[in-house]
């Protein structure tokens, strides 16, 4: 049909980074498949060079795309400029700041997920030492890590938490080394906040035969004996909401719009099922987890604020 939405998804990273990019890629693909006569999707990868973002967005707007998704906070500035010049095109911005009538920010409430992972880790650990490994510091990753610490502390206030940033989203090697280091020092459960690095952590867990908590994707198949659980992103429902608003014309409007979040409440952020091979979690532990999970679902938990 002619009235199909032409959608362009611009990814800063690779569509298979097992993380931020991949989650959105999958979400968008699935959504496109579900609504074949609503949207036609074009994906471009590896637009990391900030100077290249502006022309990219512009290109698509010129080429008659109706929706352009800039998936990453580094798109904020370009989206704001370009959106202003193409008022009829809808721009979606992953995280980031600033808003235009025709732009909409979406984000993941990783602090919630992190909190949940913190709780699981703290309950599972036998040594009283847990760890969290991330790629680049900043935005939702930092929030996730804070959430993790809060969750762990909630279970056991004087738990020992180790934290490492590899400084590079894709430094699998560094993450592996970091994880090995943590495990060697007695940590027995690590949550990784995604990206190429996650893979390194999972591998380390497998080698040391200890637990790891995944992110973004259900990673249990990566290491069936060692992936205790993990988070899963579901951008589909965010997109759902956005596109309906686009269809019913409520998308483009003046004034402050609140960020469209995927979180535990709306099921955009879910916990993959527990795979406690070692049986470290007692039934009450599991009860606690369920409880926290539920509470997060009702937004009944006070989550840490990151300035």
């Amino acid at each position: 049909a002619a009235d199909k939405f032409k959608v362009a998804l611009v990814l800063p990273g690779k569509a298979d980074d097992v993380s931020f990019n991949q989650a959105m890629y999958r979400g968008a693909m699935e959504y496109a498949e579900l609504n074949p006569d609503l949207i036609s999707l074009k994906v471009v990868e590896g637009v990391y060079d900030v100077a290249d973002i502006d022309p990219t967005l512009r290109d698509y707007a010129d080429a008659g795309y109706d929706v352009v998704i800039g998936h990453g906070y580094q798109f904020s500035e370009p989206v704001n400029t370009v959106a202003a010049q193409y008022p009829e095109v809808a721009f979606l911005l992953g995280c980031g700041v600033g808003y235009q009538p025709n732009s909409q920010i979406y984000d993941v409430q990783l602090e919630a997920g992190g909190y949940l992972m913190g709780v699981v880790a703290a309950l599972a650990t036998q040594s009283g030492k847990v760890g969290v490994i991330g790629g680049g510091e900043g935005s939702e990753i930092t929030r996730g890590h804070e959430g993790f610490k809060a969750g762990a502390k909630f279970v056991n206030p004087d738990i020992d938490i180790q934290e490492v940033y590899t400084g590079d989203w894709n430094d699998t090697t560094g993450a592996y080394e970091a994880a090995i280091g943590m495990y060697d020092s007695g940590v027995d459960v690590i949550w990784h906040s995604g990206d190429g690095i996650g893979l390194g952590v999972v591998q380390a867990a497998e080698e040391k035969d200890l637990y790891v908590l995944g992110n973004v994707e259900d990673q249990v198949t990566l290491a069936p004996k060692n992936v205790l659980s993990g988070l899963q992103y579901e951008w589909g429902n965010a997109l759902e909401r956005i596109f309906t608003s686009i269809q019913d014309g409520t998308f483009i409007r003046e004034g402050e719009k609140e960020t469209i979040m995927i979180n535990v409440m709306n099921g955009g952020l879910s916990m993959t099922e527990l795979n406690d091979v070692k049986g470290w979690l007692t039934t009450d532990d599991i009860a606690v987890i369920e409880d926290v999970y539920a509470k997060l679902g009702e937004n009944a938990i006070e989550l840490p604020e990151v300035p």
């Binding site: 900030v50 100077a51 990219t56 290109d59 500035e77 680049g136 935005s139 300035p307």
Partner: protein, 358 residues
């Protein structure tokens, strides 16, 4: 003579074109393998570089930092100093530009020249550091500049997550610099082309004269060998540091321009591939100002074209890198093959061995 040179230039161009075509042909194979139509792909590429006023403006936008940086790099290379630290020097330049633009409590009109000068000085300092290490400890500059790249990168990461982080969000970036400071857009708001262009032109003009200046000669001579340079009354160590400084200064300047013209803030990924590109362009242009200009224009077009080919077709992003790599290799190969089977012979009657030695 002039007529001979014009023939030579013509031949140069012909050769380059041939080589580029060759590279594109191989690239086409990959395009086909990935089930895409090479014709469309390359159309997209060309359109992406010259398709519209907008596109051409974008090529120039890219050209500004690339040209300035490769001219900077070529200064060091001329003295046989392998400064592969352009990326780092660029970052250092950008960092202080933003720092001053945001934090120094003086009126805006004063912050602009201040940051401008600071960017040059800091870029120069960062490179001169490597120069000093070489002069003082004979620490190989290939290593030091490389290491300094990494260090500058992590310094940036530190600043955008710590002291300089944007107070209004939790994002890893600084606040944007005030509107009043930004370089004016030359073709109106819908074009990014900014007045940095004039700085670039100024730099080019300077560089055209540079190799005729005392300093230019001194640097060139230092590159001819430590012994002959010293013999000619040059203080080699001092010149090494100075040369690196100049080189880094220009690169730092490029950093300033990018901040005030395009980026407006610090965040990861502002350097992009500029460092490597500058090195490549400088050498493709065989360190000669006009050569570098040509190479820089060519490369900016290539980058823009590649980017839009990535966007507008389903050709995998990787193919663009492959094509770039091929082009680089083919073109350097040309320079030699060309000289070897010297097509000039077709035109010049028997003459001595002057063009023999490279």
């Amino acid at each position: 003579m002039s007529n001979r040179t014009s023939i030579k230039v013509a031949l140069e161009i012909v050769g380059t074109v041939l080589m580029v075509v060759g590279a594109l042909l191989i690239g086409a194979v990959l395009v086909v393998l990935s089930e895409n139509n090479p014709i469309e792909a390359y159309q997209a590429m060309i359109a992406g570089a010259f398709g519209s006023k907008q596109k051409i403006a974008e090529v120039v936008v890219k050209l500004i930092p690339i040209l300035i940086m490769s001219l900077g790099v070529s200064i060091a290379f001329k003295a046989q100093l392998w400064n592969i630290g352009a990326g780092g020097q660029f970052l250092m330049g950008s960092i202080v530009s933003v720092a001053i633009a945001l934090y120094v409590p003086v009126p805006i009109w004063l912050r602009i020249p201040l940051s401008f000068a600071a960017a040059i000085v800091v870029g120069a300092g960062w490179a001169a550091l490597a120069g000093w290490l070489k002069a003082r400890f004979s620490a190989n500059e290939v290593i030091t500049t490389l290491m300094l790249n990494y260090i500058a990168h992590y310094l940036l990461l530190y600043l955008i997550n710590g002291p300089m982080q944007d107070p209004y969000s939790d994002l890893s970036q600084t606040d944007v610099i005030p509107d009043g400071m930004r370089l004016t857009k030359l073709l109106g708001p819908t074009f990014r082309l900014h007045s940095g262009l004039f700085i670039m032109i100024a730099v080019v003009v300077l560089m055209i004269f540079f190799w005729r200046t005392t300093l230019g000669y001194r640097i060139d001579l230092t590159g001819q060998g430590e012994k002959v340079a010293t013999y000619s009354g040059i203080n080699v160590n001092r010149t090494v540091i100075l040369t690196m400084g100049l080189s880094g200064g220009l690169i730092g300047l490029a950093g300033w321009i990018e901040i005030f013209g395009i980026q407006f803030r610090l965040l990861d990924g502002i350097a992009g591939g500029l460092g490597n590109t500058a090195t490549i362009v400088a050498l493709l242009g065989s360190l000669n100002v006009y050569g570098v200009i040509a190479a820089a224009i060519f490369f900016s077009a290539l980058l823009c074209g590649g980017a839009s080919m990535k966007r507008m077709t389903d050709v995998p992003y990787s193919v663009v890198d492959v094509i770039q790599g091929l082009i680089i290799i083919f073109v350097i190969a040309k320079n030699v093959v060309w000289d070897r089977c010297d097509p000039m012979k077709l035109f010049s009657k028997k003459k001595g061995y002057s063009q023999h030695a490279e």
